[in-house]
Structures are given as C-alpha cells and as structure tokens.
Symmetry: C4
Subunit: 208 residues, 4 copies
Amino acid sequence: MSELAALWSELADIKDELAGRDWFMGTSGNLSIKVAQSGNFLITASGKDKRKKTNEDFLLVDANGNPAEETYLRPSAETLLHTEIYSRTAAGSVLHIHTVENNVISELFGDAGKVVFKGHEIIKATGRWEEDAELVVPIIYNHADIPTLTDEFSHHIHDDAGAVLIRNHGITVWGKTGLEAKKILEACEFLFQYTLVLNQQKAFTTKV
Amino acid sequence: MSELAALWSELADIKDELAGRDWFMGTSGNLSIKVAQSGNFLITASGKDKRKKTNEDFLLVDANGNPAEETYLRPSAETLLHTEIYSRTAAGSVLHIHTVENNVISELFGDAGKVVFKGHEIIKATGRWEEDAELVVPIIYNHADIPTLTDEFSHHIHDDAGAVLIRNHGITVWGKTGLEAKKILEACEFLFQYTLVLNQQKAFTTKV
Amino acid sequence: MSELAALWSELADIKDELAGRDWFMGTSGNLSIKVAQSGNFLITASGKDKRKKTNEDFLLVDANGNPAEETYLRPSAETLLHTEIYSRTAAGSVLHIHTVENNVISELFGDAGKVVFKGHEIIKATGRWEEDAELVVPIIYNHADIPTLTDEFSHHIHDDAGAVLIRNHGITVWGKTGLEAKKILEACEFLFQYTLVLNQQKAFTTKV
Amino acid sequence: MSELAALWSELADIKDELAGRDWFMGTSGNLSIKVAQSGNFLITASGKDKRKKTNEDFLLVDANGNPAEETYLRPSAETLLHTEIYSRTAAGSVLHIHTVENNVISELFGDAGKVVFKGHEIIKATGRWEEDAELVVPIIYNHADIPTLTDEFSHHIHDDAGAVLIRNHGITVWGKTGLEAKKILEACEFLFQYTLVLNQQKAFTTKV
C-alpha cells in the first residue's frame, strides 16, 4: 500500500469510528491527515454523508488548502483552520467534531474563555504525564467569517498537539498522528461528560 | 440499478441508520422517498419490525397515498401527512420518528406552540447559512384523528424543507432529498438534546 | 426451516437486538418463545453470556419448565414466571430484562405499587389504540423466593399481553408473538426514559 | 485451538465488547487473562488503539509482569496491579476500565473511601446470592507512583473476585474467569449508573 493509500485508510477508519458515536450529526465536522513531507494533506470533501464509506470521502489539498489534483470535490468549508495548524506546527492530523456535550461546555464556560481540568488520570492521554498535570481548553467566539475565526484560533496554536473549543460550534484537536489526535479528542469528550454529570450530582448533594 | 431500486436502497439505508440509534422504539415512525416525476413515493409498510431489512419494508403508493401496485402490504397509518407535504412542496423525502428527547421538548414547549433555536453552528445543517439564523420548530397537538392532525400540520408547510413536532408523539421533517431530510432531523435532535442538557446544568449553576 | 428452528431464530434475533442495547448487563435477563400447540417453549439457558450467539443459548422445556429433551443445560432460574404466564394466557413470548431506567422507575414508584402513563402516542405500541388510553405498569416487591415472587406476579396476569416491574430487579413483558412482546418492552422503556428526563427538566423549570 | 489461542480469543472478545461501549476512551484501560498453571498471563500491550483487532494487542508476561517471550511490545504501564491480584488469589482475569460514571462515583464517594450497594437483584452477578447481600466497592487515592498505588490496592484483595475504584481514574475488577470478571464489571457499572440517575431524580422529588 502506498503512503497515500495508508493515510487514506487511517483517516477513513477514524471517520468510521467517530461516525459510529454520532459525532458528525447533520453531516457536520471535518477531518484531515498530512502526507509526510509534501505539505499536502487529505481532508474531508464538503457535503458528504459521513456515515457512508466511499472513494470520494476525502480529497488531497496543498498547504494552502487548494486541491492538489484535478477533482470536482470541494474541500471542507473550514479547511483554513487545518492549513493554519499544519503551517504552525508539526501536527500530522486535525479532527473537528460537534457533540452535544462539547457544545454545552463551550456555552457554560464560554464567558470565562476556557475550561480547565486537573487531577484526572485520563489527562495522560493528552501527553501530559506529570502528577498534577493541568489541561486547559481555550474557548473562542464562533465568528461566521472563517478567516476571522482562523485568526482568533491561531492565538491558541502553541504546540504539535492541542485542543480548542469554538462556542456552540464544536471542538478542534490536533496531534502528531491520527491516533494521537483521536486520543486527545476522546480525553476531552470524556472530561466534558464527566463535568456535566458531576455538576448534576452536586446540584443534588448541595441541597440535601 | 433502476431509479426505483436506487431510491429503495437510499430509504433502506436511512432506515437502518435511524434504527441503529433506536429512533423507532415500539416499531413507531414512518419514512418515505419520492419517485421524481410520477408523484408516486415509497413509504414504510405498516406493522413491520424496522430493525429488520426485508423486501417488504416499503411499498409504492400514488400521490393520494393509495398502493400504486398490487400488494397485500398496507402503507403507514400516517401516510396522509406524507401526501400533504409532497402535494404542497418540492420535497423529495419525509421522515417521522419518536425519540425521548423530541417527546420531552414537545411537552416542555408545547403550550408555547414552538421551540426556537439561535446562535448554533449546526443550524446550517437545516439550510440556514446567515450569521444569526433562527430555527423555529412548531409544536402541534396530537389529534388522534389523522385528517384533523394533517389539517393542523398543513399550516406549517411553507417550504421544500421543514420540521414540525407533534406533542408527545414525535417529529416530522422533510427536505429535497433523503440526505437533506436526514440532516435536518439530526440537527433538530442535536438541538433538542443540547437544550435538555443545558437546562439541567443551569439548574445547578443558578442555585449555587 | 422447521417451526422450532424458526422460533429459535426469532428468539436469537430478539436476544441479539436487546444485547446490543446492553439490556442484559451482568448476563441478567431471560427470554422465551412458545411452540404453538405443544405447550413447550424455548427459554434462555442459565449462565450463558448473552452477547454471544451459540447453539446452547436456549433449551426446550415443557409447560412445567422442565427440560423437554435430554440436555446438560439448565433453564433460567426464573423459568417459573414464564410457565405462569403461558399457563394463564395465550401469550407466545415472554421477555425479562434489567435496565438502569426500569430499575430507577421501580424504586421511585415502588411504594405506589404502579406507574401510570397517559397521553403518549407510543402507548399504541402496547395495543391500546383509544385516544386517552392509559398504560398501567404494576410494581411488585422483589421476593428472593421465586415461587413467592411468582405468586405475587400472577395477580397481575390478566391478558395475553402485559408488563410488570419487579422492584430494583427489572421488567417482565409478554405478548402474542416475539415482535408484540418486544414492542411492549420498547414502549415501556421509552416511557420510563421520558419520565426520568421530564422530571429532571421540571426540577429546573419549577425553580426559575 | 491451543489453550493460549483460546485465551487470546476470549480476551480479544472481551476487549471488542468493552471497546464497543467506549470503555477505553483515550486508549485507556488494560485487560489480562491467566494461563492456567504456568502463572503467565496475556495482557494488553501499551499504546495500542483498543478499537482495532491485531495480533499485537496482547503479549505474554510471567508472574512478575516481565515478557515471557521475545517481543518489542511493552506490557501495560499498570501491569503491577495485575501481578499483585494473580499472586494473592486464584483469579483468572483482571479488567481495568475508565468510564465517566465510575469516575464520577469515585469522586462523589471518594472521601468516604467506599460505595455500598444493597437490595439490588444485579448484585447476584457478583456472586452474592443471599437475600440482603451487600456489595462494597472500596475507593482508593490515585497515586501516580504505580508501586505505591499497588500497595494501597493490595489491602483490598481478599477474594478470588473483587472490584476496586481508583479515584478519578477507573475501576479494576477480577474474577475466576473472563466471563466472571466481565459480569462483576457490568454489575458495578449498572449500579453506578443507577445511583447517578436516582440521585438526579431525588433532587427533583425532594424539592417539589
């Protein structure tokens, strides 16, 4: 299998797994994986049903997000966020999804501009192995204009791995490989769910 | 594959996907897809287990909802809602499902007659791309008499795509294609879930 | 396919579907389907992992619940509830499962001895088609002694279809066929979930 | 099939089933199964995506947790907990997973050092069949140092079957076979979910 075919297969597997969790409701979300040295990357084509597996699910684009091959497919409307991350870091994969939980967390903590987690074993999945590691997920405003959104987003790209919430929109994570990005995504969603469930319980405990 | 076979396959895939989410509990719900020019449409047969995939899952009916072929199958008891939508719009597919979340939303907002969403990225999945797009889902009374129900329902059919909640019954959505209808359905269910989760969190935050 | 093989296959499909929803946590639960005239029925063997599909999942027992064939398999410890239902009605299938939701409902409404539903479209799935149909699900004490449990249970067997909750144990439903029993089960679980979600929402609405 | 191949297959099936429930978010968790007399056991290799099924998912280690064969694979970082359980009991399988629910329960009841369940039918799945059987799940502090964690954990290993929560980390269960361990795990998760849902309902009932 060529490198490109292997990357296609890796991204398709990630798409299938996230689709199985209903993390692309309303065909939302977009995913990409970088071809090692070329600067090109595979990204989800716009308007496709992410529950299906076809040979038009992804297309190859260059470092500027323009198709790197002749195609009638259009890259995701939010491709600019992917090019920004790849241009500033050594990330190998970018995943963007909408869940009810990440949307609610982004609304509850949106005015604070971030949500912070500490003292959770699962933080290790984000690559932080110190005993009191803290995970900070910034939350930015959902600018309708993608270049404006990308500009604000870019202030939070400091590392080869990371996660940013866009308010009432979704989460974007990146990592050195597809698996690393997926681990960060799952750790974040786990912590979002934990926070929501614990808050509900405290509502009960505080009262009685 | 003939047009009819392709449409059958498309509707069967939608049925499988929604069944996988348990959106047909108690074999509730009904689905249809229109054959382009004839005015005929495929609709779920009454009384079938929607978890199974058989060649008796759907039957072809005419624009009045009567079988367009010789068959012992009976069209869904709520076929009249489908014929009403197809007769008034250029919709290509109608989906009706019951979820716990859409039933609870229909009860909570039933007296207000509608539930309104704004400031959510996922609203784009319903075809509204303006920055402050509003999604209004009307809620009508669940008349036991289907013609009466259809009459009240018809007041909310203004476009080739739409969504209406029937109180403590379920949601009916329609769109130009099966995929468009499914996107609207998923966006609505996402927003219903979001509303329920956010309300629970506010119960906690407001108190403390 | 013989009648017995067809019934085995029908029960196996129901088992697979319910297992997929995690309705047999801890290998709990038991299922049976009646062989038309003999009075014999197929019932889940004791101690099996209900996530697996094997040719030892069920065994044939007679109307008294004793193996009707030479086998080392033991029928479910709660077989007596099944024989009681088959002896008093024309039911063709009995399903017993544990869910978090049915356990919580049984605890919340246990002192009242029943939980009552009205004004829900999904009640039709239980065979009640009148406009203001009421669904009453009795809740009985979870006697550790199975004959005592069966005796109390038997007071609630009035029809060929029905549902009874056993407190902090689970629900038992029956119907004329496997599909009818499954429809009743799904309708009950839907209404249990609805009740829990609506109550949480009212906690919020009442306060603000 | 050799004994080793049969055990590999049994552990792989358990892994698949738990992965399907998303009980390994962020590739967390670890599983093992003992080879009858040798004292060796198969354990999940470190850093693998538990959603995939490969011939590198597990490796054979000896009673001290060191590879029992030449391999580049590394055993799970928490192998020491497994060796401790196997050295003190006749357990045949150890399962460790992270769920949102077990993490929240560990936080809510962490200061009390345990969570106690009584009067639930599903407690039978843990091997306690007396009428008023009590299930006590100890909760220990999540020491970052694995030997320290193992030392505290070891105080709660009294039997061939058991369950211990590690605060904001996850649950570890063990049983005589893979199926027994899985039954205990499912019973615990069922009871954790039940507790969370019932508490939310009481928040409502108490107030009104």
